[in-house]
């Protein structure tokens, strides 16, 4: 079996072969510019620029790989600002011993994700670290998007609607179940997906309706609501009955004592929008595969300013506090 060895980082023939025959040939011979930097032409004044590093165990999971995660995560960071994602870089840190076949699968999933999102992978880097100094593979990406509409940030006011494009907590719950070999985790899958087409479609129809949007990754939906309400004169109220959460996610979360509202998503955007357009935005989301389970899940209120909270099924309120640290599974 071919594996990554220190020679792949030597700067010599082995490294060039790896880059040309494996990495570049999969990620895009037509788009990757092998030089010190890629030269890009953009038709606008403003660009959005972002970077992110990806570390995840396991590197392959139901619904994606670290590769698709890296592309979709970067695309989504650009898209939620209202930008159109165009270019991505890909820096790989590979641990000695990683099977080349595994690397290929990850690169292929990256390429597929890039094609689907309509972004070009234009430059990259490869480093090898000794066995034990890395966790199979780390990926750093930077992304450039063109700002073709106004940036989607407007003052939030009481009465605005809180919208999400689908089920909550899928990615985090699936990964936690996988990491711990939970035998009862069948049916769980990451929601890893690019959201730029869905978001662009909303902006096209309602250029001024969106007040705020963010992809609900680490910390989940509750953490985003805490960010936007921090120090604000309004609060964010969710309706428990309206939350789209899969039964499998509910079940595993209940057993582990974790809350799906704090679990990571990798294909979900939380949008705060003028309530006049809320149902229309949901209707547009539903036309996209990533928006099939879209719903209005809450509202901005004057009750409990500065707090995120939830009206439970039976009509009581409970605070959704700021997450202190990682959620840990409980005893029984």
């Amino acid at each position: 079996m071919d594996i990554i060895v220190p020679g792949h980082g030597s700067g010599g023939k082995m490294m060039n072969d790896l880059i040309n025959n494996t990495i570049k040939s999969i990620l895009g011979s037509d788009t990757i510019q092998i030089d010190d930097s890629a030269i890009l032409t953009v038709p606008v004044h403003s660009i959005a620029f972002t970077t992110d590093s990806y570390t995840i165990t396991p590197i392959e999971f139901s619904g994606g790989t670290i590769g698709s995660l890296a592309v979709n995560g970067t695309v989504n960071d650009l898209a939620v600002m209202g930008a159109v994602p165009r270019f991505i870089s890909c820096a790989l840190i590979l641990e000695e011993g990683l099977p080349i076949e595994t690397l290929k699968r990850i690169l292929i999933s990256m390429k597929e994700a890039a094609l689907k999102a309509g972004v070009a992978i234009v430059t990259g880097d490869t480093k090898i670290v000794p066995k034990g100094k890395g966790d199979c593979i780390y990926i750093n990406t930077a992304g450039i998007g063109t700002v073709e509409n106004s940036v989607q940030r407007r003052p939030i006011v009481s009465g605005d609607s809180i919208i999400i494009n689908g089920t909550i907590g899928d990615h985090g719950t699936a990964i936690m179940a996988l990491r711990n070999n939970l035998s009862f985790s069948k049916g769980l899958s990451s929601d890893c997906a690019a959201l730029n087409h869905l978001i662009q479609d909303i902006i096209k129809h309602f250029p001024d309706a969106i007040k705020f949007m963010r992809d609900a990754t680490r910390g989940g939906v509750a953490s985003i609501l805490n960010e936007i309400t921090k120090g604000a004169s309004f609060g964010a109220k969710l309706f428990e009955e309206a939350l789209p959460i899969r039964d499998e996610v509910k079940g595993v979360s209940e057993i582990l004592g974790i809350d799906p509202l704090y679990s990571a998503n990798e294909g979900k955007v939380v949008i705060v929008a003028d309530s006049t357009y809320a149902n229309d935005i949901v209707a547009i989301m539903k036309k996209h595969p990533e928006g099939a389970d879209a719903a209005v899940i809450g509202t901005i209120t004057h009750e409990f300013p500065g707090k995120a909270y939830m009206q439970t099924t039976i009509g009581g309120n409970r605070i959704l506090p700021v997450l202190i640290e990682e959620q840990l599974p409980r005893i029984c």
Partner: protein
């Protein structure tokens, strides 16, 4: 009846005098908040948290011993995630892990047995903490380890029984409790009848309740009716899970491996016959008998009031450390870090 209608009944319930009820179980503590049921309590109804969080009632010397065994005998400590951040006298498992102690979080005791199989050259010490609910599963593991002749699996016995603790609270008369919400999962094992003494011996009503919003609402309504009509009986709301006699098979397995013995409870002290110790037949799995670590003398944080909290004397917000010196990032007492701990629940959900 529709759950929302029952919610309205509860929120509009008229109490002639203030009423204090105790939820014994830590999961109830959290669920009363999480479901919003506590938020719709009628005026005059007060919920007192009881001694039902297994992590919280575990005294400091237990964790001190676990840490000492881990280091001094080069063992892997296998534990439920809840225990990781609980302060010991001088440290915590989480802190010791950063210093290099082998600590593995497991989801079921059987994972710890598997850990022993997968690491034949290492000794695995499982921290056996919990009440009647989890103890049968732990007994099964010991049986399994014996059957498979696994020599490197040990448990540090810390399981406790809920009934003796409730008796101690009632005997002390320290707190005026008008009625009890009793733990559903524990009762599934020991049976509803195990609680009848609350009515017959102490003249108080109690309701065995499940953990979903409708259980909490229905259970609280049932209890308020019993209190209002001065009807001291023990009623089972959680009939879909709890039988009068519990689960005799589980109890049989439990007592084939464990025997009752004294146990030390945080805040309450030693309660006779309230702990589960390994039977002599299984002494070879008992970490306390197989290892003789040098354990430093236990100490409590001087300001920590977890003990009074677990006796129902105070609620979390009565403690001067709550939310200030003691918070989830820097917990001084276990009630702030366990997911079933009252302080954790108040900190997370109770501050509006």
């Amino acid at each position: 009846m529709d759950i929302k209608k029952e919610a309205v009944l509860l929120s509009q319930y008229t109490l002639q005098t203030p009423v204090a009820i105790m939820e014994v179980c830590g999961t109830h503590t959290t669920e009363f908040f999480r479901t919003g049921v506590k938020d719709i309590f009628p005026q005059g109804l007060r919920l007192i948290d009881g001694p039902g969080c297994p992590v919280c009632v575990t005294s400091n010397d237990y964790l001190d011993t676990a840490i000492a065994i881990g280091w001094q005998y080069h063992c892997i400590i296998a534990t439920f995630g809840d225990m990781m951040k609980v302060p010991s006298s001088y440290s915590s498992l989480s802190k010791e892990k950063s210093k290099g102690l082998s600590v593995e979080v497991v989801y079921s005791p059987m994972d710890a047995v598997q850990l022993a199989v997968d690491n034949p050259d290492k000794k695995i010490v499982f921290l056996s903490i919990g009440f009647e609910t989890t103890a049968p599963a732990e007994a099964v593991c010991v049986l399994e380890a014996k059957k498979r002749n696994i020599k490197n699996f040990f448990i540090l016995p810390g399981n406790k029984l809920t009934v003796p603790a409730v008796k101690v609270l009632l005997d002390s008369g320290e707190v005026n409790i008008d009625g009890f919400i009793l733990p559903g999962h524990v009762s599934a094992i020991i049976g509803k009848k195990a609680w009848d003494f609350i009515a017959t011996d102490y003249g108080k009503p109690a309701v065995v309740a499940g953990f979903e919003d409708h259980d909490l609402i229905r259970g609280t309504l049932l209890l308020l009716n019993l209190i209002t009509h001065a009807n001291p009986s023990v009623v089972n709301e959680y009939t879909r899970v709890v039988r009068d006699d519990g689960n005799p098979k589980a109890l049989e397995i439990l007592y084939s491996v464990f025997k009752k013995g004294d146990a030390s409870w945080r805040g309450i002290g030693t309660i006779p016959e309230s702990g589960l110790l390994l039977n002599d037949d299984y002494a070879s799995f008992d970490a306390l008998q197989q290892f003789t670590p040098d354990v430093p003398p236990p100490k409590e944080h001087p300001g920590c009031r977890c003990g009074e909290l677990l006796r129902g004397v105070i609620i979390p917000t009565d403690c001067p450390l709550f939310g200030k010196a003691c918070n989830p990032e820097h917990a001084i007492g276990p009630c702030m870090v366990s997911s079933e701990g009252p302080c954790s629940a108040y900190y997370k959900y109770g501050r509006k």
